[in-house]
Symmetry: C2
Subunit: 528 residues, 2 copies
């Protein structure tokens, strides 16, 4: 009997242990800010499964620290870097612009200004690539390291160039490809029901919304095309030879680990090498630190509201934070607010301002009733996982569109940044989401759907990274359609050929009938 | 310590037990032949997980027996049925036609003949639907049974009508939708790299292959359209009201359990509610019955060849089987041949003719070196699972295209039925596949790829059937794109509108410039 127990215990250990996998050698080119927070979760999980992780970073990196217990770094010297200052400038500019307090700015001016800023950001990233590939000693070391795979976030394009330079399989941790939602490049995306980020459309559009969607698509594609041409294609030609095509190269990744799922994203076409790992960072809540738990418990039956504007945003304008703090002060709920700027003058006793908060653990706490959020993908997926309704204050990038997806599903209310401090908008919105049960019920339904998966999205992501290492790529899952010229892809040549053939046939028949008719008429005339 | 063991043992039991799921109530409308063999595997697995299974069948059913230990049946009386005679007639006709021994048959004649035969088959299926829905007592019983889901194979269209009639969620066990490959209807399918079944194309096509692909597509779509219009739309209007649209209804299933995977199928776009379960019927080989094991072992180092032409085909023409048997007799290998017709006169001592064989267990036997097969999806997926190279003798339906996929991946050689008994074709082909190691190596590579999945395809299929039962559908995974008119779907209206707007703008500018120019000229003339 004891033997049986022993065997069971051993078998249990075997089943619970991570799936056996040969230790792999992974080269990572990560991105900054919330994108790094995402990547870091994957790296920790990969390390815990025995893989060696090597990161190439710049000496001016904002989030990525030098060597850690779970990765090794190579640091290159660069002159410029992406940092909080640049992000704050973008955010404040967006808020001022959206509030309409700026003097008249022409559409063209704004578009050119935004484009030049984005090109500049990518030029900074491009400098990293040059710093790496011009360093012959570093490239030798990297080549000799015999990596199994490159893991990168392709909203920055350097990782792709590294993978091709070292001729390695490539896995993306992805939602954005340069400046557009990545599905648009890799999967067929009929614009009739695929809303373009920034257009404010959903997957159900009127005629004029579809027109607007098409215009947004053309604009963002031009945008992307210019960034690729002006930055990455040049790098590509310099380091990979004159014939390389960056546009094609960036679509040639083996596996795309997409940071969404179809509880959050509208249903849309996809391709076999896209793996959905939305919510991979979510996990059951751990107990809160004692002071937070005490604060949360002190809320009694009213519960707690938490507010965060994400990793990129440290400061909101003072008049806005004062207004928000004043509203919070009026509420019977307790509030935990992640806020780094000056302490608002109107702050009530019920509001705890913190530099950082364990967001996932708070969202999973039964006392938390409402999440006031900017709408980053991470926060939205965590809200879905824990079934907490959201009051959205989107600032920029994809935040409005992320929140719109929740709103469409009945789990969120949205306020625009230009109206949040007008009248009682914020107070009314908070009360509506707290008091109307449908918000919570809908979020809980989404939570049930999201959690009901054959396996946890993080395990799925790890499986596919290791799959690429085991099989040295995943060529059989790539459609290769991106290698076809557009007229071939859309069968324009075939349609023209067939239409021509049908026309020629009709013309021949027409001429034959006409000849026959003329001949018969002549014959008749002769006889007459 | 003992307590720890006890806990471990209990936990082990919990982990190894099938995932807890409330017993569901499943209504099944199955198809015949090899399609039933597929469905039957799913039904047994569903039954073993505690679900109640009810089948509606006809009294003339070919494969589906009355009540069994794992399902309950309701039988309706019909006049006609699909049977072996019809299939044999189709098969012999195809062989004669492909051999070119028939008098000249025009393309139009053949197409019309095939269409009328297919329409007739679907009319037989349509009669089942009428027999069920005209029986008020049966429909009352079915309605009162409170089913959770309808499971059907939509190559026959009645299951869809039943699901809509009883307003139930719908799951497909599918590869064919009426008469076309189902991806073509549900997922975007650029004809530039998606080969149409029957065209003989692969996913890499020359210009003229793409023209041929387009013609095949137009033909098969017309074919499908006519079957839908002539059979199912009529039924639909009769039982579901005049406004129903069968074409839209059949695309509105919750989950499509697709009987392929991307080791077999070319990579192509898909949609979120398509779940790939290719190879779900495959499992490690069980020991063979003693007499078979002895026969197999007697092959020594030469190994064994197995041959089967599938569930639908009982007889090949006698001259063909004689030729095949004569070739087998010359080989040092042993042969196991599933063959139901007359015993070939030329049969050698090394060949064992059987009525039925444990195909999966034989393919998994290390002595089996070659599989001579007709190329049904089941057999091809089993060959991939076990890594056995294939010599293909395709007859009809998708068989050529299935085998072509294996050939393209280096795992199979193909012979057409019109050349198999010419010269030494068959002998040479058998020897080539046996002696050229690349065939086996490629099949073993495919086998490794196929088996390397996060979970077994059957478990995945069961998960999604139960998912639909748990959530009463999977609406959030359906794109709904099939509800858009074609010109909306392809944004034709938007493109025309935008092109019109641009033209109008250009025209206005042109007219303005012209007016200005005329005015300036006039002014100048005046001054001169």
């Amino acid at each position: 009997m004891k033997l049986l127990y022993c065997c069971s215990a051993l078998l249990l250990l075997f089943i619970l242990a991570p799936r056996a996998c040969q230790a792999g050698n992974i080269l990572v080119f990560p991105t900054e800010g919330s994108h790094w927070i995402n990547m870091d979760i994957l790296l920790k999980a990969l390390h815990s499964r025995g893989h060696n992780i090597t990161i190439v970073r710049s000496d001016k990196s904002w989030y990525i620290t030098d060597n850690s217990s779970y990765y090794h770094t190579y640091t290159v010297q660069v002159e410029r870097s992406l940092d909080q200052k640049l992000i704050t400038k973008m955010m404040l500019g967006t808020i001022e612009f959206e509030r309409g307090t700026l003097p008249w700015v022409s559409f063209l001016n704004t578009a050119v200004g935004m484009l030049s800023m984005v090109v500049d950001v990518h030029n900074i990233i491009g400098e990293y690539a040059s710093a790496i590939l011009d360093d012959k000693e570093l490239t030798r070391i990297l080549r000799d390291s015999k990596f199994d795979v490159v893991l990168t976030d392709p909203c920055w394009g350097t990782g792709v160039i590294l993978a091709k330079y070292f001729n390695l399989p490539l896995v993306y941790n992805v939602r954005w490809l340069i400046a557009t939602e990545s599905h648009l490049s890799i999967a067929p995306s009929p614009l009739s029901y695929i809303p373009i980020t920034g257009s404010g459309n959903t997957d159900k559009m009127t005629f004029f919304q579809r027109v607007n969607n098409m215009v947004f698509h053309l604009t963002s594609q031009t945008h992307n095309y210019l960034v690729v041409k002006l930055v990455y294609q040049k790098l590509c030609e310099k380091y990979l030879g004159p014939d390389c095509d960056y546009g094609e190269m960036m679509l040639d990744a083996d596996i795309w680990l997409m940071r969404v799922d179809f509880v959050f994203e509208y249903p849309r076409p996809t391709v076999p090498n896209v793996v959905y790992m939305g919510g991979f960072q979510c996990r059951p809540a751990k107990p809160l630190p004692q002071h937070l738990e005490e604060f949360v418990q002190s809320s009694g039956e009213h519960g707690v509201i938490i507010m965060s504007m994400g990793a990129f945003v440290n400061e909101l304008p003072a008049d806005m934070t004062n207004k928000i703090a004043a509203v919070f002060a009026k509420l019977p709920q307790k509030v935990i607010w992640r806020h780094k700027g000056d302490r608002p003058a109107t702050l009530g006793n019920n509001t705890l301002v913190v530099d950082w908060m364990p967001q996932n653990d708070l969202l999973g706490h039964p006392k938390v009733k409402l999440f006031v959020a900017h709408g980053g993908t991470n926060g939205v997926q965590e809200a879905i996982y824990h079934g907490v309704p959201v009051l959205g204050l989107p600032l920029f990038f994809d935040q409005y569109d992320n929140l719109l997806r929740l709103k469409e599903k009945g789990g969120a209310k949205l306020l625009t940044i230009q109206t949040v401090d007008k009248d009682d908008n914020f107070l009314k919105a908070v009360q509506e989401v707290l008091n109307e049960p449908s918000y919570t019920m809908n979020m809980q339904r989404l939570s049930r759907l999201h959690r009901d998966q054959p396996m946890h999205p993080l395990d799925n992501a790890l499986f596919w990274i290791e799959y690429v290492m085991r099989h040295k790529g995943a060529a059989h899952l790539k459609t290769g359609s991106y290698r076809l010229p557009w007229y071939t892809y859309h069968s324009v040549d075939v349609i023209l050929f067939l239409a021509g053939a049908v026309l020629l046939m009709l013309l021949t028949v027409f001429i034959l009938i006409r000849c026959l008719y003329t001949a018969v008429c002549k014959q008749k005339l002769k006889h007459d």
